[in-house]
């Protein structure tokens, strides 16, 4: 047998993965019902992985999380990395662009994810939060130190 054509094999696998993520345009020969079910199952599993990595975001959206993430994952398609932290950040940013009200905990998750996904240099962001008390949160990513966060109470703290 001649050496296998890894290039053609790679194209077929990429086409299948793309179709599963988008939920359409499956390569010829696949049983449509099976392919649909596989796509739904794959996106559901990816959604659960993102929900685990982003518990505050998942809580914020509640029962709508699965549907909203599935819609995002299908639309993101080629740009979705498949890494829960990275895809969750892309999802959260898309929600923010749509003016979806994200609670303070979800906003903290976004800042921490953005910091941890930085690979080089110093990164610093601040956010004014109301819960559990009015505060200014600073999140930084520092070389060799990783992600750090510090809160400063604003006004009189509530207990």
């Amino acid at each position: 047998m001649s050496a296998p054509d890894r290039g053609a094999y790679a194209e077929r696998q990429a086409h299948l993965l793309d179709a599963l993520l988008r939920g359409d345009d499956f390569p010829p020969g696949f049983v449509a019902a099976d392919a649909d079910a596989a796509g739904v199952a794959l996106r559901r599993k990816r959604g659960r992985a993102v929900a685990h990595a982003w518990p505050a975001l998942a809580l914020c959206l509640g029962d709508a999380f699965e549907t909203r993430f599935d819609e995002f994952d299908r639309g993101a398609g080629a740009s979705a990395s498949g890494e829960p932290l990275r895809d969750g950040l892309a999802f959260a940013l898309s929600l923010a662009e749509e003016d979806e009200p994200l609670g303070d905990d979800a906003r903290v998750e976004m800042l921490l994810a953005r910091a941890s996904l930085r690979r080089r240099g110093i990164w610093l962001r601040a956010a004014c939060l109301r819960e559990p008390y009015p505060r200014l949160l600073l999140v930084a990513r520092l070389p060799r130190a990783g992600t750090r966060q510090r809160s400063f109470a604003i006004g009189r703290a509530r207990w």
Binding site: M1, Y9, Q13, L16, A41
Partner: protein, 280 residues
């Protein structure tokens, strides 16, 4: 054909997760735990895994990221990580999947099936050989549950798995939940397929839960083990003596009492099958 790797006796096992570490620590009958290799970082081993080793349990690293069924050759860094985890936990073997998990630079986030073709078999054999050369212990390969099948199959799944195992000399991680799921969803006889697997090459067995949803069985590992899978455990043990049988539970963890009950149900099925095997 490559010579088969030596098979270590493992006993009853469970997939180790931090969420159920306390529950598993109370189960005296356990002989091994399986840990997801990619979850082990370069820092100290999780205390639960260290404690399991100190109790005398064997630890089997289970890889999910090599993508042995992918078009690319397995990445040296990923192989080095799996080898490192195996050495750090004193593993008797490691396991991975007959699947691809990434394509075109994107992670699937799931184990996807390979075509049952001669070309795919050649690529897999090459990739597995690369992996075996990099690993300090034997490698067991797991067949996966797949809701979708590639068109143009040149052989069925069991024939494909048997050919791969025989050509590479690897061991088999027989997943009875995956067998149950594929047989149910694709309309074939699970028992007939079970008998054609290379049972003499079993390193250990996976038993996990699932759920029937809209007429499709999903191997979720987050639901109880269904009676049909337990039946396969008994039937397997009636015709073979698997070195290890373990419970897989990855999510929606039940109370410890339910976890223990599932482990006992698996042990009962193993025992009943074994009694039939020795007393036909």
């Amino acid at each position: 054909m490559r010579p088969a790797a030596i098979i270590t006796r493992l006993g009853a096992g469970a997939g180790w997760r931090p969420q159920i570490d306390g529950a598993l620590a109370q189960v005296e009958e356990l002989g091994f735990i399986e840990v997801i290799a990619e979850s082990i970082g370069s820092g100290p081993l999780p205390p639960g895994i260290v404690a399991a080793r100190e109790r005398g349990l064997q630890v089997v690293p289970h890889g999910i990221g090599l993508s042995l069924g992918g078009a690319e050759r397995p990445a040296p860094a990923r192989l080095a990580h799996l080898a490192s985890v195996a050495e750090r936990v004193g593993a008797p073997l490691v396991s991975e999947h007959i699947a691809f998990v990434r394509a075109d630079g994107r992670e699937a986030g799931h184990l996807l099936p390979v075509p049952c073709t001669h070309q795919a078999l050649e690529i897999l054999c090459e990739n597995v050989a690369i992996a075996q050369a990099a690993l300090p212990v034997p490698l067991a390969l797991e067949h996966v549950a797949a809701l979708v099948q590639w068109p143009g199959a040149e052989m069925d799944e069991v024939t494909f798995v048997r050919a791969l195992i025989e050509r590479t000399g690897t061991l088999l991680l027989l997943d009875l939940s995956n067998l149950y799921a594929n047989a149910l969803n694709h309309g074939y006889d699970a028992l007939e397929a079970l008998e054609r697997f290379p049972l003499e090459r079993i390193a250990y067995v996976h038993v996990g839960g699932g759920v029937l949803r809209d007429g499709v069985y999903h191997d979720t590992h987050s639901h109880p083990v269904v009676p049909g899978v337990l039946h396969l455990v008994e039937e397997l043990c009636a015709i073979a003596d698997p070195p290890g049988v373990m419970l897989e539970r990855d999510d929606d963890f039940p109370p410890p009492s339910e976890l223990v009950a599932e482990l006992r149900a698996i042990a009962d099925a193993v025992r009943l099958g074994g009694e039939r095997r020795v007393r036909p």
